[in-house]
């Protein structure tokens, strides 16, 4: 049984291009939205992580919002960020991580966030990069930056989250 981060094998996943096709009938126009089915397999680890169903549902919700009528109250992610989040989450979220909140950001990203075990952690996956904010609450102000430079502190925080019941 693996102890490291879960790996997710994605099949049937293509870069999003045109979704469906447009046709005109009479005086109305409509668009056919044909979802591309994506199969996520869990390889290694200890089975399906508890966070996976919720995270996949939220990513699906965010992707689906891109095809809904415009809503001034809605913040829409960049579709590339949604697909990138799906690809990268296996390398970020270990199989024992508590379920994060998943929200869109005003910069077009998808953010995974936890406030737990005395830590505040936000991982924002954008179209071309991943930004992290981590704070140990009893140590004062947190730190933010690209994931590569934040990896040691992020890993420390994620290990702390993993050890919570």
């Amino acid at each position: 049984m693996g102890k490291g981060p879960m790996t997710a094998t994605l099949t049937g996943l293509d870069e999003p291009e045109q979704y469906g096709s447009s046709a005109r009938t009479g005086t109305s126009a409509f668009e056919l939205v044909v979802p591309r089915p994506t199969i996520v397999r869990v390889a290694g680890g200890r089975g399906v992580p508890r966070w996976l169903p919720h995270v996949l549902q939220r990513l699906n919700d965010l992707e689906a919002a891109l095809h809904e009528p415009a809503d001034e109250a809605r913040v829409l992610p960049d579709p590339q960020a949604v697909w990138r989040a799906l690809r990268e989450l296996g390398g970020i979220l270990g199989d024992r991580i508590p379920t994060p909140s998943v929200v869109p950001t005003v910069d077009g990203g998808v953010q995974f966030a936890w406030h737990k075990a005395g830590w505040d952690v936000e991982v924002e996956v954008l179209a071309n990069e991943t930004v992290v904010w981590v704070r140990r609450r009893d140590e004062g102000q947190g730190d933010a930056g690209l994931i590569a430079e934040m990896r040691p502190l992020l890993d420390r925080a994620l290990r702390a989250l993993e050890s919570t019941p």
Binding site: V75, P98, S101, V103, H115, R135, Q141, G142
Partner: protein
């Protein structure tokens, strides 16, 4: 324009949807996401509870912006907590809504690197507490 006091509660309207809320498991409550406390060039819009009350309004009126918008959530933080993080708060009354006389703006500290600014805004979000409304989503299962 009025001077704001340290204990003035600043009220922020936040859309009551999962996209705008992050679960705070340690404190058993929801906090706004960064999208819920969006800053535009004029800062982040809030309303001063003291001035609202003086004009006969309540936190519930911030949820609807004086009945011009759908009912949402209202989060609050004292001016002192906001300024302690380095933000500035100013009374900026307007006539855009019936409660515009109580409008205030929270502005980010100037010349702060983008990453540090992001960290400060995340801290600001966690300093806000829901003062009106019931958050619609359930906590993420397994949180």
């Amino acid at each position: 324009m009025a001077d704001l006091r340290d204990d003035d509660e600043l009220l922020r309207r936040v859309v009551n949807r999962q996209d705008f809320l992050v679960w705070h498991d340690d404190e058993g409550r929801w906090v706004p996401s960064l999208a819920g406390i969006r800053f535009d060039p004029d800062g982040m819009s809030v309303f001063v509870l003291r001035i609202l009350a003086a004009n006969g309004y309540r936190p519930a009126d911030v949820a609807t912006l004086g009945e011009t918008k759908p009912d949402e959530l209202v989060f609050a933080a004292p001016t002192s907590a906001v300024e302690q993080l380095g933000f500035t708060a100013q009374h900026t009354p307007n006539k855009q809504t019936p409660i515009g006389d109580a409008h205030a703006s929270i502005n980010s500290p100037p010349q702060v690197p983008r990453a540090a600014l992001r960290a400060l805004r995340s801290e600001l979000a966690t300093a806000l507490h829901c003062t009106y409304g019931t958050p619609a989503p359930a906590a993420p299962p397994g949180a």
